[in-house]
Every structure is written in C-alpha cells, then in structure tokens.
C-alpha cells in the first residue's frame, strides 16, 4: 500500500524491521542434535529424503550448541541427563527456541516413575510441544512450521 505501489516496479520492497529480522530467523533455523531415544529416529526420518526438512532451511543439524538456534528435545529425559540438558541450553546463544518433541518430552509420556522428568518444561522453557509417540515426521514438520508462525509474530519489544 502506499509507497510500495509507487516503488514496486523499481525492485524495492518496503517492510518493517521486525518482519525482516523475523523472516531471516525463520529462513534458516539450525537445529541442534539432541536426539535422546525413539523420537530421534523419527527426527532422522524427517531429515531423510521422504519428509525432507531441508526445504525449511534445516539442512544441517549442528552438534555444537554454540552454532545452533533451535533445540529439538526428542525423547525421554532421564534424571541423570537433566543437568546436561540445562547446560546445553545455557550454552546456546540467544535467540533460541525449544521444541519438545514427543509425549515423553512434553509430559513424561508413558513413564510416570522415578527415573523420567515429567516434562522437559521443568528444565527449559518450551515454545512448541509436538504430541505423538513417536510423532510422525509430518507432525514434527507441522511443529516446526508452528514455531515459524510464532517467530514471525515476535515484536521488537521482546528482543531486548
């Protein structure tokens, strides 16, 4: 509207800073390899050619937390592993997001006992929960797209 209709055919696009930065963030969000159990196999399956996740910019899974901005907690989190998860989350630079993949990561899943943390959101703040045991690769991709929608709605005020 307005300026764009006059300048559009000169090859100029006007947008707000928010939209530009959010578009950049969703365009190539690199996930960190945090596959713990069975959901990790479905995560690998969604990386595989049948349900390609690299269409969404997630071509590589970085093993190092310092180089990634999305942590997909895939699998059951045991009490021995919980401090490790928190330390890796702290090592990720901001902006960072967390997807809790699967029932065990979201709420403890099938296991309600001494050894499993009942929901990863006791340890790290979660942005998107993906349900399923294990969730289909399409469900994980839907979760990733939901996260992209959420990121596109972020405001400048929340960054600082």
């Amino acid at each position: 509207m307005g300026v764009e209709s006059k300048l559009g055919n000169l090859g100029i696009v006007t947008t707000s800073l928010e939209k530009l930065v959010n578009w950049g963030r969703t365009g190539a969000m690199w996930p960190m390899l945090f596959g713990l159990a069975c959901c990790a196999i479905e995560m690998m399956g969604s990386q595989a050619p049948d349900y390609d996740m690299s269409r969404f910019g997630m071509e590589l899974m970085r093993a190092s937390p310092r180089q990634s901005d999305l942590m997909i907690v895939a699998g059951r989190l045991s009490r021995k592993m919980a401090p490790v998860l928190r330390r890796l989350y702290d090592q990720m630079p901001a902006p960072k997001w967390v997807i809790s993949m699967g029932d065990c990561a979201s709420c403890g899943g099938v296991y309600n006992n001494y050894a499993i943390v009942q929901g990863v959101d006791e340890i790290v703040p979660v942005d998107v929960y993906v349900a399923g045991c294990p969730p289909r690769p399409e469900a994980l991709i839907h979760g990733v797209m939901t996260l992209h929608e959420k990121v596109k709605g972020e405001k400048i005020r929340e960054w600082a």
């Binding site: 709420c107 006992n113 703040p125």
Partner: protein
C-alpha cells in the same frame, strides 16, 4: 534341531545331580527349564565347576528378584548359563537374606559379570565382594536408595489435568527463563 527335549532334560538332570552331591544344590524344573538353588557361599565354586567341568562357557544373564516383605530369603540372585557346544541352558538361584546381603563376585570367572553385578548393587543394594569396580551404573552417582527394591516407591507423580491445573502448577518446578 539339536538335542530333543528328553535328552536335554537328562543331561541337565545329571548336571544338577552332580551339583547337588558336590555343593548341596537343589534342582527343580518348570516347562522344560531346569533351575538349581545354591547357597551364597558356594556360588563361586559352582560357577567354576559349571565352566570347567560341565562346559557352560557363557554367562547369559545375571539379575535378582526381591521378595520383600519376606525376609528369609529376601532376594534371589538369578544366574543364567549357556553351554554353546551342547546347546544347554541352566539357571542358578542364590537365596540371600536380610536387607544388605553380600554376594561373591564371579567377575574373575566370567568377565561380563562386571556390569551385571554393578547393576545388582545399583538397583537392589546387593553388596558384591571382591568386585574390581563397584559403583552405580544406571542411576546418577549421588542417588540415594536402590530403585528396583519392592519397598522403593514407583515415583508416580499426579498428572496435571484441567481440574487440578492450578494446584499442581504451584508445586511444579519451572525454569526462571
């Protein structure tokens, strides 16, 4: 393939009779599987006899069962042995009394008993004597208690539904950021 059920049974019966005479073991059978009850002091001797004299060359499994609140015996340590050339399997059960029983290690005879016995210590609290490296294996080092005992609670947490959402939300730990 291999020995028929009848032959296998007679070979195993002969072995359990031999163990009974030399070590006082009591044999029993259920659905074709032969099991022998051995006293805890004789377990190392029995294992050595099985390996050297009777040819049982692999320790297939080693675990325990807790019979709390019964105290005599409170635990049964279960050893599964396998004779590969003759295709035989034999189970040894060792009854253990009391809350902190001691058991001799057979890691000198079968090296793979090392981790199995660490798991017995971790999960049941059976103290293994002469073990080269007795530490917890599955639970974190600082854990208190032995989870697979029957008097250890399951750790069931109340599930957060909509009707009790607020009250559980107050008690549930949440990260600050």
């Amino acid at each position: 393939m291999g020995l028929t059920k009848l032959q296998m049974n007679s070979a195993l019966q002969a072995i359990t009779q031999d163990l009974g005479q030399t070590l006082g073991a009591k044999g029993s059978e259920f659905r074709g599987q032969v099991s022998a009850l051995v006293a805890p002091e004789r377990i190392v001797e029995a294992t050595r006899a099985l390996r050297d004299k009777h040819g049982f060359n692999m320790l297939a499994a080693l675990s325990a069962v807790d019979y709390w609140p019964q105290r005599e015996p409170r635990f049964h340590a279960v050893y599964e042995f396998k004779n590969i050339p003759q295709k035989l399997r034999l189970e040894l059960r060792v009854p253990l009394n009391g809350d902190e029983p001691e058991l001799d290690s057979i890691a000198g005879i079968f090296p793979n008993a090392n981790w199995h016995e660490r798991e017995l210590w971790d999960m049941f609290g059976l103290h293994i004597k002469n073990h080269p490296d007795l530490r917890r294996i599955l639970m974190p080092e600082e854990w208190a208690g032995h989870p697979l005992r029957k008097d250890y609670p399951l750790g069931y947490e109340e599930v957060q539904f909509t009707f009790n959402f607020e009250e559980i939300e107050q008690r549930k730990p949440r990260p600050k950021e």
